[in-house]
């Protein structure tokens, strides 16, 4: 068997080899898909039992640089569930605002990446420039662009000033118009449609059977959004529309995200109007007040995220801490999308699940007839085919 390796571009130690997916191919057709998801495995769940509850927040925040807020939100809610603590209402609203800003930035990020992948470099830069407005707002409110440790057990770390509220409102108005334009573009531009319509097919039945979550599931007609089904933070008082598309392809998944971005902007504005006065945090014991079990499920930008914690009374560390990220849940669905498809469709399908890895990520193509293996990154794959 001969192996050909191609090394391209900047090197992220986790991305060199092995590849995230190994595709067995026959000519241009993908015959089988094997996921390889172990090389960024750091051992976080075990580490969580070796850290106090508060120390653990700084660790979970770094499960994913883009989702960071989603993880701290889920963590504090799970621990509050186990401890039997209720954060103040104002804190719930602030959590919701930052949570939705996180969704907006994350969706804009992947929409930009999708454009870059198909060669729309200008659009990628424009979308990311608008994303900067959101990052500025997050920094203003929480103290940092990412990794701000804003969510704490019992509430949030900072209050928001009237000036910040008015700045946020202005920023939201600015980006609304832009996002509407992006929506029109994704819906109608012939190049975008050519690259994403019909690619990465995932039937509703398969999406449900394989445990798909988030826009990946909602792009296949599965009308489930944790914010509506199991309301958390301020979602019991701030209603939202679940965005669903029936086309079951990459295009549908991107459309879900564009529409969700507009919906998120609306949710933040509504939170700003409805937010009650009051404290933003309550005092919290340093050790678990009871032996218990808690869990929290949220709709992270990529989909359903769950943290599950076991506590023992009097201990300052969790007994067991489990995290299941949305991208992990979507792996079997991605394999399903690509089996029987073309090599050319791989990048468009992978990017459409908004995976928790970058597009300089590598995949391996193994020809079933010759045994020849090529290691190639997604961007090259997209340009070459």
């Amino acid at each position: 068997m001969t192996t050909t390796n191609v090394i391209v571009g900047p090197i992220h130690p986790a991305l060199h080899e092995p590849e995230r997916f190994v595709f067995k191919v026959d000519g241009e057709v993908v015959v089988d898909v094997e996921p390889r998801i172990g090389y960024v495995h750091r051992g976080i769940e075990k580490a969580m039992s070796e850290r106090t509850f508060t120390q653990g927040l700084y660790l979970v925040e770094r499960v994913c640089g883009i989702c960071n807020v989603a993880h701290t939100l889920t963590a504090v809610q799970a621990i509050e569930d186990a401890f039997g603590i209720e954060p103040p209402k104002r804190a719930k609203y602030l959590r919701t605002i930052v949570h939705e800003l996180n969704r907006i930035h994350s969706h804009l990020l992947i929409l930009g990446v999708a454009c870059e992948l198909i060669g729309f470099d200008t659009m990628f830069m424009l979308i990311w420039r608008d994303r900067e407005t959101v990052m500025d707002m997050v920094e203003m409110i929480t103290g940092n662009r990412v990794m701000s440790a804003y969510n704490i057990i019992g509430g949030v770390r900072r209050n928001i000033s009237d000036h910040e509220v008015s700045e946020l409102r202005k920023a939201l108005d600015t980006i609304t118009e832009k996002v509407r334009q992006y929506r029109e573009m994704f819906a109608e531009d012939p190049t975008i449609r050519a690259r994403f319509v019909g690619v990465g097919r995932l039937s509703r039945a398969k999406a449900l059977a394989l445990g798909a979550v988030g826009p990946t599931a909602r792009g296949s007609g599965v009308k489930v959004d944790v914010r509506v089904e199991e309301p958390y933070a301020a979602f019991d008082e701030v209603p939202l529309n679940v965005v669903v598309y029936e086309e079951e392809d990459s295009w549908a998944r991107f459309m879900v995200r564009v529409d969700e971005t507009l919906e998120s902007i609306r949710i933040v504005k509504e939170c700003l109007s409805k937010m009650p006065p009051g404290p933003v945090k309550v005092p919290v014991p340093e050790v678990a007040p009871r032996s218990s079990e808690g869990f929290s499920v949220i709709e992270a930008p990529r989909g359903e995220l769950i943290h599950h914690v076991y506590t023992r009374e009097g201990e300052d560390k969790p007994l067991r801490y489990r995290i299941r990220t949305p991208t992990y849940a979507n792996i079997p669905s991605v394999c399903e999308m690509l089996k029987g498809g073309y090599i050319a469709d791989i990048p468009a399908a992978l990017v459409s699940i908004d995976p928790c890895f970058s597009c300089t990520d590598r995949v391996a193509l193994v020809d079933v007839r010759t045994g020849k293996k090529i290691s190639i990154d997604l961007r090259m794959l997209a340009r070459r085919y």
Binding site: I37, H41, L208, G211, V213, V224, E229, V297, R324, P332
Partner: protein, 149 residues
Amino acid sequence: MAEDYVKLIEVLREGLRERFLRYEYDAKRRALKVLVERDALPKAFELINEISRGEYHFTTITGADLGEDDVELTYFLWLIPQKLRVMIKASAPKRDSKVQSLVNVVPATILYEREVYEMLGVRFEGHPRLEKLFLPEDWPENVHPLRRE
């Protein structure tokens, strides 16, 4: 809507009989916890499949070593029409931690079972590919990171 949990309990009780151990319902969260014998798991999920007509979302499996003689398994799912969060719990003794694989009944369990196997040593019988998922290839065979020893 929430009363649907009563219907589900009846169905599980009737189908599992003495292998249905107990349940707890949190009305505020619409969350139902059910404890069953480990060999009742496939049947429990067949019943869930029937009562929901396949309209449920499988969330994940947590395996936990809480310092006792067994590994506690929690299967999380969301019943869509009933709008019910369900946690099916079962225990597998550490010395003989075999559990039947649910991959044929619940395809979404395929990667979660591998994870619980590598982290806690629970063997899922009938799984098409019970091998490591996250741990490196050269990780020693019988060392399971989330076991307390």
